[in-house]
Point group: C2
Chain length 168, copies 2
């Protein structure tokens, strides 16, 4: 019933190299997504995959991943935050933030300072080195953002940001 064979047959296929046109269609362009095209989640998943890969590649020379960048940025903009506050603000599990900070602290980008007012918590700060490093990360991240703009268009990117602002 589903089926929907005989799709639009865009016969632009320059012949894929495998001449087994008999039983199997492995020509990507001809495979229909059916209900998936109406699902925002599918598009978002593919987009996020692309965007994260580009981010990682663009910042590969400094070896910073998206989550690390978000943590550094928030700490840089709000010195003295507790781990709990950072975790809640970014939607990261506080258990996960522990390893994240361990790594960043080993690289001398962040330091945990024992809070005087609450001996349970740590006040998070960038090191001097972390501060200058973050500035470089931000320049590279801006380059990545330009890649996004080139990919989906300037106006579309801004609309996207506006639509998804309620999740940030």
């Amino acid at each position: 019933m589903t089926a929907s064979l005989a799709r639009t047959d865009t016969s632009t296929s320059p012949r894929k190299r495998a001449g087994n046109g008999a039983a199997l269609r492995d020509d990507v362009d001809e495979i229909g997504l059916d209900a998936l095209v109406g699902h925002a989640g599918y598009a978002v998943r593919r987009f996020q995959l692309w965007i994260f890969q580009d981010f990682i590649k663009t910042l590969s020379e400094v070896d910073i991943r998206p989550t690390q960048y978000s943590v550094l940025t928030v700490i840089g903009a709000n010195p003295g935050l507790s781990q709990m506050a950072v975790a809640k603000r970014l939607g990261i599990e506080r258990a996960r933030l522990v390893h994240l900070l361990d790594s960043l602290e080993q690289r001398r980008l962040v330091k945990r300072i024992k809070s005087k007012t609450d001996r349970r918590s740590h006040a998070l700060h960038l090191t001097a080195q972390g501060d200058t490093a973050l500035a470089r990360f931000k320049r590279l991240a801006a380059a990545h953002e330009r890649h996004v703009e080139e990919k989906i268009g300037k106006a579309n990117r801004e609309q996207l940001l506006q639509i998804l602002a309620c999740f940030t």
Copy 2:
């Protein structure tokens, strides 16, 4: 700078309960995201997290996850595809698709049929049971999609789909 956004505050916060407003700010609403607000990747990550959680919850009664749903849908719409074709079309690693199909085949939703024309590959088909099950999955997925619509708005959802169409 940044800050604000006046979030909808779903957490029913009747006063945060911790009165240590001294040195640490753990009030989520007051923590600025700085450069993150201009990054599409951050918004997309948060959005995808939300959307996947809603999908999983909405389809929890049938125990189907987003990736499984995408595989079933594509196979249902294109019977006889090889694993390689499905993997390429959905952007899934073919190694990963093996386990995915193992699981779906155990649940009698999918069957691998040895291809006559290419003895390396399998032709993928839904079982009769898988076909009726997929119809139910699609109804639940439609309900999930309505949740998305309620969250970001009907017009915004359609714009989103249009903007990200180049990734599907």
